[in-house]
């Protein structure tokens, strides 16, 4: 293997694939990155041999093809600090030593047999769905955070993809909240229902930041893997087995009160309340009162820290229906307000205690449900 490439390209590629490398693993080779030089490009691959695999392609001028694995951390830290110039790379096949030179710096890195690298699972072309990168990224950012962080119910650590016709429904829940985003697909796709690990989608969101056009999503026929193809980068994730709860049933139908507020103000007041709430059990109380005699309605957001202090904020609101008193975990409230990109948001509630349904105004694609907390008023 003998080639040369640009420092920026290699650096970008290495940092992208390094996200797949586990902090700790039983398999030492997963700490390595695989370089394969062929044609006029280098393919970088990394995997945890467990949940995800990322490959990234950069252009290079290749004198002699070949492949080698190198310790990811060492290589990427080294490349990151090099000046923005051309990097020459030569592999001594027998000793598996790679010599790298850039500007006036030379390095030699010991590699491992590329055949020992866990094979990146090929995803056979069964059903490919095309989706616009920016819209997909937005959908993921509104859903992934709601997945469960602990493993007590493995299916909840993933995001449910339900595809039917031209609709792709992404849902995540952790037992206390539920986020659902529905995407319209340009072409009709066959029906499909799978659970993708949230961790893999968090990495995908990062990769999507630099993708511009449509990306293709492929689920393999065996129902074990999904591949997201961004053109220069590919991410393959192992699916979580099991059945996702029926989320449609978890969204309450109808409401007795509806409170409409500005997202920015609401988010700011929730942040303030959360400072006081964090010493207690995270409880943030909302009281929505309809305006009387022509006066505008208002929403008060309050929190108490036992023996430390209290806080109360008030914002304008349009309140339909009766007065509402409801308490939520402040963190859950803030996390959903952080990902909304509309100006205004509506909170729908039924007779207490019932979940709060949060809908961004003028955007029917998203709905979020938070379970209330039981408090003494």
């Amino acid at each position: 293997m003998r080639l040369s490439c640009q420092q920026e390209d290699l650096h970008r590629g290495l940092s992208a694939v390094a996200r797949a490398i586990p902090a700790r693993s039983a398999l030492p080779i997963t700490q390595h990155v695989l370089l394969t030089a062929d044609g006029d490009q280098i393919t970088l691959s990394a995997t945890d041999a467990e949940t995800i695999a990322i490959t990234y392609t950069i252009t290079a001028s290749i004198d002699e093809g070949g492949s080698i694995t190198m310790p990811s951390r060492l290589l990427s830290d080294f490349v990151a600090t090099l000046p923005r110039e051309n990097i020459e790379m030569t592999l001594a096949e027998r000793s598996r030593q790679v010599s790298l030179s850039c500007a006036r710096n030379d390095a030699s890195i010991g590699g491992m047999d590329p055949d020992d690298f866990p094979p990146i699972p090929p995803v056979d072309d069964s059903a490919t769905i095309s989706v616009e990168a920016a819209r997909f990224r937005r959908a993921l950012s509104q859903v992934v955070f709601a997945a469960a962080a602990d493993d007590s119910r493995p299916v909840l650590t993933g995001v449910h993809f339900a595809i039917d016709g031209t609709e792709m429904r992404l849902a995540a829940a952790d037992g206390f909240r539920l986020a659902v985003h529905t995407l319209e697909l340009p072409d009709s796709a066959s029906e499909c229902s799978v659970i993708v690990p949230a961790r893999a989608l968090a990495e995908l969101t990062r990769l999507l930041a630099e993708a511009e056009d449509a990306i293709s999503v492929t689920f393999n026929a065996a129902g074990t893997q999904v591949q997201f193809d961004l053109g220069h980068a590919k991410l393959v994730a192992q699916l979580i087995q099991g059945t996702f709860p029926d989320t449609q049933r978890l969204i309450p139908e109808g409401h007795t009160s509806r409170t409409e507020v500005a997202v920015g103000e609401f988010n700011r007041e929730t942040r303030i309340a959360q400072i006081f709430a964090r010493d207690g059990s995270g409880i943030v109380r909302l009281v929505a009162s309809p305006g009387e005699g022509g006066a505008p309605g208002r929403l008060t957001i309050s929190a108490r820290a036992e023996e430390l202090g209290t806080n109360e904020g008030e914002i304008d609101a349009i309140v339909e229906g009766e007065e509402v008193k409801v308490a939520f975990n402040g963190r859950y409230l803030r996390e959903v307000l952080d990902v909304l990109d509309t100006d205004r948001v509506a909170i729908e509630t039924q007779d207490q205690p019932s979940p709060g349904v949060i809908r961004p105004l003028g955007d029917d694609s998203y709905v979020h449900v938070i379970m209330p907390m039981f408090v003494q008023w």
């Binding site: 030492p28 995997t47 467990e50 020992d116």
Partner: protein, 369 residues
């Protein structure tokens, strides 16, 4: 996967697990008839071939050769070296998902609950490269009680593509709920002649030495091989066996002196004290087998064994086990060992009549722990 559908796959007759051809044949039969269960409990004494048999089963399942396991392809070799994706060994000091501690450097004495939680998460993912995710718990005896309980859920409702293989030297000490959720396969010691022949053939051990090792290991090829590689093990084994033999006839003062001596060395070298207790445990197990006349329990050539009732041997076995538990869980070592000494039955000295030292030991059995 496609080959399985056409039925073209063959499974090798000989899995090369010395002395365990019966257990291997049972697994092979399950593979052929397609009746492999989701969880196996392989039990047998240390060095009997539990881990090797577990690896062979894993290889038979993921090897791509015509006759499986071929033991030659890259996949088979990766399983043997512990580098195969989808095959995960759960051992003391292994990895977990929590970033705030590192079992490799914090002197873990047990398989911790966080490792079991990781297993649960990974088991629910589709396999990466192979058709199955296989977890080898080596050994289930070393599971932290909380970890054992956490494992029950996965054992109860295992994901379709996972296989759990639990290894245990003392299956009776496991939670009954774990035992009942696994298909149990007991590995019995092999005849000394078979072990000796394998030592000569595979490890190039000279014939005379091979027979000695085979006898000393009481029919366990793995143990014999380890003793061949590290002669100090054989010495430790012999000394420890001598000790337990004389202790079983010793009086109380002598025993308490010994407990004190052993508890002192616990401060410096835990490993060797634990190894000593392990030898004692297996010695009492052999005595129990002999007293209960279990066929195949002990190879004939393993030396004279004490005459005692099964009840006495069982009491000694559980006392040793209890002392080991206490030591691992940081009980005062001298106390734990003294209790052990008082719990051991007093056997009649050879050539001496009952009486003299052989008074009934004081009953201080701490049943409720």
């Amino acid at each position: 996967m496609t080959e399985t559908a056409t039925g073209a796959v063959q499974y090798a007759e000989d899995w090369g697990v010395v002395g365990q051809s019966a257990a291997a044949a049972a697994l092979r039969h399950a593979l052929i008839s397609g009746r492999l269960t989701h969880a196996y409990l392989l039990s047998g004494p240390e060095g009997a071939g539990k881990a090797t048999l577990a690896r062979r089963l894993a290889q038979a399942l993921i090897c791509k050769a015509g006759v499986r396991p071929c033991l030659e392809c890259r996949t088979c070799r990766q399983v043997d070296s512990g580098d195969a994706p989808d095959i995960e060994g759960i051992t003391i000091g292994g990895v977990c998902d929590e970033g705030n501690h590192d079992h490799a450097s914090d002197n873990s004495t047990r398989i911790r609950i966080c490792q079991v939680r990781r297993l649960e998460r990974v088991a629910n993912l589709s396999p990466f490269a192979a058709a199955r995710r296989i977890f080898i718990i080596d050994t289930a005896d070393e599971l932290q009680p909380e970890g054992a309980n956490a494992l029950l859920k996965t054992l109860e409702e295992p994901p379709a593509t996972s296989l759990l293989i639990l290894l245990a030297t003392d299956p009776e000490a496991l939670l009954p709920t774990i035992r009942s959720r696994c298909q149990q396969l007991t590995l019995t010691p092999a005849p000394a002649s078979e072990v000796a022949a394998a030592l000569v053939e595979r490890a190039g051990v000279p014939e005379g030495e091979a027979l000695d090792l085979a006898r000393l290991s009481r029919g366990r090829y793995g143990l014999a091989l380890r003793m061949h590689g590290d002669p100090s093990l054989a010495v430790l084994r012999e000394t420890a066996t001598e000790q337990v033999r004389s202790l079983s006839r010793a009086g109380r003062n002598e025993r308490l002196d010994y407990a004190q001596q052993l508890s002192r060395s616990w401060q410096r070298e835990r490993e060797s004290v634990l190894a000593t207790l392990d030898v004692w445990r297996s010695w009492w197990r052999d005595v129990l087998h002999a007293s209960a006349e279990v066929p195949g329990g002990t190879p004939a050539a393993s030396g004279p064994l004490e005459q005692c009732s099964p009840a006495q041997a069982l009491a000694a076995l559980s006392a040793t086990q209890r002392a080991r538990e206490h030591l691992i869980t940081n009980t005062n070592p001298q106390l734990a060992l003294e209790v052990l000494m008082l719990d051991l039955p007093v056997l009649p000295a050879q050539g001496m009549r009952d009486g003299e030292e052989a008074r009934e030991p004081i009953a201080v059995t701490p049943e409720a722990d």
